[in-house]
């Protein structure tokens, strides 16, 4: 699989996003977890997904893993995980839990983009880092500059998508 330079940046990006969506998601999820998310635990699929088959058949046991250990197999060039997991999983694995973004509350709310940027840095800087990404820089546009909400592409509680592709069919990269 071809790995694009922006995916390097994306790796850092994953961490922040994780948390936001854990609580929010419920229906319409892609591999929606069956049990309550309060038990959410990095690497322990069954904590949320119960007995549902989540990982490929011969995948090693992940229960005690964190993002660093995932990376021993999943590199940028091999078994790249970009676009394979909702963003909150990456956040969880990087030890950024639900409450780190949503706060301790019974009624967690959707995050604003400011909260993403607080950890991940400004989108202008991000756009500079991804300027050579093929087929185009995903973090700036003639329409919105660098102001577009991260969550339009980098979904935390659902499958990430390329928002621009709804018109720009040729922008076929993967969103982590």
């Amino acid at each position: 699989m071809k790995i694009y330079p922006y995916q390097k940046t994306a790796k850092k990006f994953f961490f922040l996003f994780n948390i936001a969506m854990f609580f929010l998601c419920s229906q319409t999820l892609w591999a929606a977890p069956k049990t309550g998310q309060s038990k959410a635990k990095a690497g322990d699929c069954a904590a949320c997904h119960d007995k549902a088959k989540i990982l490929p058949e011969k995948h090693v046991e992940t229960k005690s893993m964190n993002w660093e250990t995932c990376k021993t197999c999943h590199t940028k060039t091999k078994y790249n995980l970009a676009g394979k997991l909702p963003g909150n999983h990456f956040h969880q694995l990087a030890e950024v839990g639900c409450t780190d973004c949503h706060g301790k509350t019974a009624t967690p709310e959707a995050l604003t983009m400011e909260q993403c940027v607080a950890c991940h840095g400004s989108t202008a800087k991000l756009a500079e880092k991804t300027k050579d990404v093929h087929p185009t820089n995903p973090h700036t546009s003639p329409h919105y500059g660098t102001d577009l909400d991260c969550n339009l592409c980098h979904r935390q509680h659902g499958k990430s998508e390329i928002y621009c592709v709804q018109c720009h069919k040729k922008f076929n990269f993967k969103a982590p």
């Binding site: 919105y144 909400d149 720009h168 069919k169």
Partner: protein
């Protein structure tokens, strides 16, 4: 010649007829209303939708409202943002909503060309590009629309264009490019380029937010509330859907519908212009460009017109149908000497022809004629309102093909070399002689012959772009009902309305239409009594 007595008689007859219609209608509505009350408790909302459809099901007026605002604006494109900006400036509490997850609708993916006979920088005089006037702009409006336009509406736009452009520059920080273009169907250099419609949307949004307008996205209107169709009966509010939440918003002063056209509404296209039916047509529009707001307005009595006039943009990306930056150059460049050619290397129409003519000239070439090309030279880039950065990006994306000579360009694109070289040479001669012997294009001194490279080619093909028809409004942007009465407190502006452009909109007349009428709607709705 008629004498005054005859006129009076005619007037009396008209009044009598109008009274009879009103009285019939009222009694019909009263009967319907009573019938409704007999079967249901609580007041019924006006409902002209087809019985049995989801839109007609169980519409009882809300007993309580979840939110109350002075002014509700529906749609966050040019017209909506302009209405919000003006109404908020005039002191109204404004909520502006959009069903999409991003603001700007089609406007923020628009090419940013704005027709105005003047501007605060006096570019036309500065660049020595000839004469123009409001009257000349107005005449082009009408001729370009085959005189189907409601002239009073076109006039409002031609007259208001310059003031609204300057307002966006002065109040909103809009930055337009130092160029002035002559484009298809316009008889003067009056098209102001800005690179992207986002320049204007963001300027309008800044003005509106400075004055306290609140934006809510992912908020979809599902009904307009009006008790009955009595001419004195105002719209009361709307039902909305936000995620799984359903709420009712009450308006004190009124509603401005600025929800855009219906180019992506396959069903409506089929209903009004069967030639454009089906999913296979590509479009320059975003997926939210559907016509439900028109139907909701019709369901409370609004009249529509010109629904069958739907425009194709002749220069879209042939693969995707979108109007990306390279797709703007063919529209922007005729006044600077660009040339349109078939894939056989021949010209096929005057480059200053209107969009509908260019589109159908291409379609007439047949499927094998796809795509056609615009050829231009490096010297023209800034003159046609482009930038080096855009050209580089166009080459990177494979949308612009570049070569040092016309022959090499033809080879790279796959056009017969001799034919293209001959066509460009011949066109250069037409420019030198001041006469287009092939298509009678009006030659100007601003047109540059293609002698010095590098040269560029961009592929083009028509895709669905703009709906000329929509809700019927008057010069005050008030929505008119099917009996010719104003629907109190209901305003509309921009592509959702009809009549401004007639049968065919001239390119770069849309933004002034949206901004001028958006402001009028905003100004008038802010003046309504709460």
């Amino acid at each position: 010649m008629t004498n005054p007595g005859d006129e009076k008689l005619v007037q009396n007859q008209e009044e009598a007829a109008s009274k009879a219609v009103n009285s019939d209608r009222r009694s019909f509505l009263k009967t319907s209303l009573l019938a409704g009350l007999a079967t249901a408790s609580g007041a019924l909302a006006l409902n002209l939708a087809k019985p049995g459809t989801a839109e007609a099901a169980g519409h009882k007026l809300p007993k309580k409202w979840d939110e109350t605002v002075d002014v509700l604006v529906i749609g966050t494109g040019f017209a909506g943002c302009a209405a919000a900006a003006q109404a908020a400036t005039d002191g109204a509490k404004v909520l502006i909503i959009d069903k999409m997850r991003t603001y700007g609708g089609n406007s923020i993916i628009n090419g940013g060309v704005y027709a105005s006979s003047g501007d605060k920088f006096n570019y036309r005089e500065k660049f020595n590009l000839g004469n123009d006037s409001v009257e000349q702009h107005m005449q082009d409006f009408l001729k370009g629309g085959d005189f189907y336009n409601i002239p009073e509406l076109s006039k409002v736009v031609a007259e208001g264009a310059t003031d609204s452009l300057n307002w966006m520059i002065d109040e909103g920080g809009a930055v337009i490019r130092p160029a002035l273009l002559k484009t298809g169907g316009h008889t003067a250099y009056r098209t102001h380029p800005a690179g992207s419609g986002s320049v204007y949307v963001n300027a309008l949004k800044r003005i509106s937010e400075k004055h306290g307008a609140k934006y809510k996205l992912s908020t979809e209107v599902t009904w307009i509330w009006r008790a009955d169709a009595d001419p004195a009966s105002p719209v009361l509010g709307v039902a909305i859907k936000r995620g799984s939440k359903k709420e009712n918003i009450k308006v004190n002063k009124g509603i401005v519908i600025a929800s855009g056209g219906f180019s992506r509404d396959v069903k409506m296209r089929a209903a009004h212009y069967p030639y454009l039916a089906g999913e296979n047509w590509l479009s320059t529009n975003h997926p939210g460009a559907t016509g439900e707001m028109i139907r909701y307005a019709q369901a409370v009595g609004a009249d529509t017109l010109h629904m069958n006039y739907i425009q194709l943009y002749p220069y879209s990306d042939p693969d995707t149908g979108i109007l990306d930056t390279p797709a703007l150059y063919p529209f922007n460049g005729p006044g600077n000497g660009i040339v349109y050619v078939t894939n056989k290397g021949k010209r096929f129409i005057s480059e200053l022809a209107r969009r509908d003519h260019v589109s159908f000239a291409q379609i007439a070439l047949g499927p094998k004629g796809k795509p056609t090309y615009t050829i231009f030279s490096d010297e023209m880039v800034e003159k046609l309102g482009g930038t080096r950065k855009e050209v580089e990006a166009g080459i990177k994306h494979g949308r612009l093909i570049v070569a040092d000579t016309i022959a090499e360009l033809a080879k790279k694109v796959g056009i017969p070399v001799d034919a293209l070289v001959e066509t460009i040479d011949r066109h250069n001669k037409f420019l030198a002689d001041g006469k287009d012997l092939e298509f009678g294009k009006q030659i100007t001194k601003a047109m540059t012959p293609m002698v010095t490279g590098p040269f560029y080619a961009v592929a083009q093909w028509p895709s669905i772009h703009h709906c000329m028809g929509g809700l019927r409004i008057n010069e005050q942007a008030q929505v008119i009902d099917i009996f010719g009465n104003v629907i109190p407190k209901l305003y509309a502006a921009g592509e959702v309305t009809g009549g401004v452009h007639g049968a065919n909109r001239l390119g770069s007349n849309a933004i002034p239409d949206c901004v001028v009428f958006g402001r009028i709607a905003g100004k008038n709705v802010a003046k309504e009594k709460a």
